[in-house]
């Protein structure tokens, strides 16, 4: 018996730039702004097609975000791209004042988010970006889970008149959502239904939760799995339904356990429908050396560890 071929993995950056280049061809006002990150943001194709519309400010993130706001004021449609750790951390006040508070029509694209830069260490991990951005009014915060959702989210962001923060990874992931999927901001996707517990994630973690749900199913435990790409505005209805139908929620994210997706969901749960929860993520420490895969396993987010945590959570149900 031969093992099934492993699923093909896709780098979501490729899906982002494919849409960006098509938008660039359709609309002469689409510009890409970057901080010397032409390579890491995969903007080489855009640059060769539209050299004048690739605005590279050099290694200067505060200026990069401000320039994005000014380009939008001047009628352009800027996609401001950089490593998520620097885009959000270094330029947070520009994101707050120039983009969110000014309600500028700028698309912020955080690349290589979460633990994607694994071995480069905590300076390059972007595990604070949900917490920093989701407190800002006017700014939808979106972390797609695969290439299909990435492309759909970029399409939506381009049509949306206002700021958006797209949090992308560089880690290869298999397809999860069907071709033709349409992105609806603030709406979770039901990937698998069940009544024992609800597992919620976004980005790369959605894939791990699907594997955990499969493990639970082998023991006769049926878990609901929600892909919740939009961290703000959070899908209140899906959270209330999850508690009503399954009685408990486990979240997992490539982010600190403080202030991210799990916190956003917990805010709804305590307000609307108190129920047992488990929040998995980076446990409030600067991570040791390791790849994203190694670190996510180390922090209890291997499929087996998630399944175990779900079983503990189920026992806490009233």
């Amino acid at each position: 018996m031969t093992a099934p071929a492993p699923p093909k993995l896709h780098d979501c950056r490729d899906a982002f730039v494919a849409v960006l280049e098509r938008l660039g061809a359709e609309n002469p006002r689409v510009v890409a702004v970057c901080n010397d990150s032409v390579g890491s943001s995969k903007l080489g194709g855009f640059k060769s097609k539209f050299p004048e519309r690739l605005v590279n400010v050099g290694i200067a993130e505060q200026n990069m975000v401000g320039v994005g706001a000014g380009l939008a004021n001047g009628g352009m449609l800027p996609f401001v791209c950089g490593a998520s750790c620097f885009l959000t951390g270094r330029a947070l006040e520009q994101v707050k004042a120039d983009i969110a508070y000014s309600n500028a029509n700028v698309k912020l694209v955080g690349i290589s988010s979460g633990m994607a830069y694994g071995e480069l260490g905590p300076t390059h991990h972007s595990i604070e970006d949900f917490a920093w951005t989701r407190v800002l009014p006017n700014l939808p915060v979106i972390a797609p889970c695969d290439r299909v959702e990435t492309a759909a989210a970029v399409e939506w962001a381009a049509r949306h008149d206002g700021p958006v923060f797209l949090r992308l990874s560089r880690v290869g992931v298999p397809d999860l959502l069907p071709e033709g999927h349409v992105f609806h901001p603030g709406k979770a996707n039901l990937l698998r239904d069940g009544d024992a517990v609800t597992l919620i994630a976004n980005g790369t973690l959605t894939h791990r939760l699907m594997k955990a749900a499969a493990l639970l199913a082998t023991e006769g435990i049926e878990a609901r799995v929600l892909n919740m790409a939009t961290v703000r505005p959070i899908d209140v209805d899906a959270i209330i339904a999850a508690v009503r139908d399954t009685g408990a929620i486990l979240t997992a994210e490539e982010h600190s356990v403080f202030g991210g997706l799990g916190s956003a969901i917990a805010e709804v749960v305590v307000r609307e429908c108190p129920a047992p929860m488990q929040i998995l993520g980076v446990p409030g420490i600067f991570a040791p050396t390791g790849s994203a895969e190694v670190l996510l396993d180390e922090f209890g987010m291997s499929p087996a560890a998630v399944a175990d945590a779900a079983k503990v959570l189920i026992r806490r149900k009233a």
Binding site: R53, V57, N63, G70, N73, G74, Q94, S102, A104
Partner: protein, 273 residues
């Protein structure tokens, strides 16, 4: 478009704006009167002579852009905008009152004529670089002006933007540094002195003009000057200009006059020019 005002006309309008500003600070019990007085002559020249703007169409795509990066002197901008017809002049009396759209720093989502939200320093120039870049990319003829404080130039983000503007060849961008020599807590020279500004900006590839920022005969040609590089106007100004006891006194950064001081200041600003 406004009629082409003469330097004398502009000086009279600036005097009216100063008086209204003084009154509004006195009534609201707050404001940044020192820096307002240093910047008002330039704001007047911009809005009543230089800027191509349409107050009834504040978002007209062909308008010139002005960014007040030293957002704490918002009151001076509000009064100038009101006098130019962007908002009712009577609304100035709501400054800082609950739910007034005229808060301590300008908000572009609420106040017609404001282009971007400022308040934290070092934000306006990067945004202005983006505006000028947009005009360059689209071949548009509108121009971008931005005013910073001199102390504000201590923010590193300004120097990121200065190098980018030179790299991009933004000949449609004018930076005005309101060089009143004082920041909130002390003299610039006693804090982190950047003066003289001219050699620094020139070293970064900008054209630089130095003027008396209270002399309309120098302000107008400097604002109307066109070259082939980004242009910086170092405007030598006086904090609290026009009111003798405030002038060049650091404590008047955001002090509020007493009734007696208010009367003296009103009298000084009402003397014939």
């Amino acid at each position: 478009m406004s009629p082409p005002h003469t330097p004398n006309d502009l000086a009279l309008i600036a005097r009216q704006i100063r008086l209204r500003d003084l009154q509004a600070v006195f009534e609201a019990g707050a404001g940044h009167i020192g820096g307002e007085m240093s910047s008002i002559d330039i704001l007047t020249a911009l809005y009543f002579r230089v800027l191509r703007v349409w107050p009834d169409q504040p978002k007209h795509p062909d308008r010139d852009r002005f960014v007040l990066s030293k957002g704490h002197v918002a009151l001076a901008l509000y009064i100038t905008l009101a006098k130019r017809g962007f908002l009712p002049e009577a609304e100035i009396s709501t400054f800082l009152k609950p739910h007034s759209r005229l808060n301590g720093h300008p908000n572009c989502t609420k106040v017609p004529g404001v282009e971007t939200n400022t308040g934290p320093l070092g934000h306006g120039l990067p945004v202005a670089v983006g505006m000028a870049k947009a005009a360059q990319l689209t071949g548009a003829s509108w121009r971008t002006f931005v005013m910073t404080g001199d102390g504000e130039m201590q923010e590193g983000s300004n120097w990121e933007a200065i190098t980018a503007a030179a790299q991009f060849g933004l000949d449609n961008l004018t930076l005005i540094i309101d060089h009143n020599r004082f920041q909130q807590g002390a003299a610039l020279s006693d804090t982190n002195s950047l003066a003289p500004f001219r050699p620094k900006l020139e070293a970064f590839g900008w054209a630089v003009t130095e003027i008396d920022g209270h002399d309309m005969d120098q302000i107008i040609p400097a604002l109307e000057w066109r070259g082939t590089r980004p242009h910086c106007i170092v405007a030598h100004t006086n904090k609290g200009h026009g009111i003798s006891f405030m002038q060049d006194r650091v404590d008047w950064h955001h002090k509020v006059p007493t009734a007696e001081q208010f009367a003296i200041a009103c009298a000084e600003l009402s003397e014939p020019l």
